[in-house]
Symmetry: C2
Amino acid sequence: MGEHLLRCDSCAVRHRSVCGALTRPEIERLNAIAHTKNLPPGHIILRDNEKPGYFANIISGVVKLTKSLGDGRQQIVGLQFASDFLGRPFRDFSPYHAESVTEVQLCTFEKTQFERLTKDFRDLEHRLFEHTLDELDAAQEWMLLLGRKSAEEKVASFLLMVARRMQSVGCKHSGGPTRFDLPLARAEIADFLGLTIETVSRQFTRLKVDKYISLEGSRTIIVLDMERLRALSERSDG
Amino acid sequence: MGEHLLRCDSCAVRHRSVCGALTRPEIERLNAIAHTKNLPPGHIILRDNEKPGYFANIISGVVKLTKSLGDGRQQIVGLQFASDFLGRPFRDFSPYHAESVTEVQLCTFEKTQFERLTKDFRDLEHRLFEHTLDELDAAQEWMLLLGRKSAEEKVASFLLMVARRMQSVGCKHSGGPTRFDLPLARAEIADFLGLTIETVSRQFTRLKVDKYISLEGSRTIIVLDMERLRALSERSDG
DNA sequence: TTCGTTTGTTGATCTTCATCAACGTCCATG
DNA sequence: CATGGACGTTGATGAAGATCAACAAACGAA
């Protein structure tokens, strides 16, 4: 294996993703089984309860993980952003449905080849483990939201989460306006928060009226005071 | 290291817990750092946001993991039963509060000693990983419940979950009555389901009136028809 | 036993959010 | 330019569950 440049060397998420732990020879072997894939919004990546064919790193874009009840009620159980890892290692069937919500660029690895690599490279498995712990933290934080927060707190929490994960432009440490685009439509936000479309819409106008945010179109959010929004999201005070 | 008997050899959860993967010499080293601990109900095992001192396997009893908002609202984000592993490896601060809900017997391992062992024994880390994946599955399943199920469906789902995890006596494959004791009080069930005590109580009487279950005292449940209860828990039909 | 505390049940009422319905806006397409 | 569809907002009404309150049952301690 030589010193020539790999695709991985110019990868935007090289160090934040699970690949970050790999040594040069390791990254070369991983590079050899990697294929990038571009998906339009709404592309189904993984079907609930089906055998996944590949794993993937998200290079850019947003993917939603959903579960649903027999009668069509749906809940988003995870949102994955750039540098997140997609797929459940060591599981034969997907416990959720995965679908792109924006244009998405993936770096995919065929399932069995990738699993062989996790056996060979202990750091890779460890990194996957760490990532899974992060997902678990996020899931449990969201359980608190779903079980115990009001609609207003839910929407505020959602905006904070997206602002943080979208690495929005002009993200001051705190205070001062921050602008970013929502990756999700109202219906998806509702599925994420356990609310209806109408309630989400009403809460947006409420936040607007109360000067927490302002809107440009329906997708662009300007948070006027991040700290005040954070306070609202947990209502220790008002 | 000889062939003498270890405490682990007579452990009730030896093979279901994370220890199940270990070879003889490995289990001997683990045994050397293990201490059993008996806790009464209501004992605080881990405080939210504090440094944990030890990890533990649950040998018997039930432990609840909770998160709360500033104003006292609380949500149970995990329930751990016999053979479950307690504590977040590779994390310095606990993301939740952990407390025994019944009498609990733990097999504890001092944190740094145990982490050294996970470095030495790859299978141990792998087993922890698998356990974390199970926790994540459970958390996401519960997000669907919290976000999208009605109070009645929530309580039905809860009973099914407990019946499954408590390895209840007379657990026919399906159909036929099944009896078990609830490990949680009404207030804890409410915190688990994102409801109030009153609503939980009302749903219990509803299930009783509708002949899904019968009660002996407030803790002993007899599920009259498991399959019918399962149908109710997802209301694809009535 | 009796008292007091904790836990659970039930009823009356109120609040929040869902549901149903109408309408507006933005695009894509013929 | 009209037409239709997807998406978002707003209003009127209803239902599920929260809240407030009273009481019952279980249990431990004096």
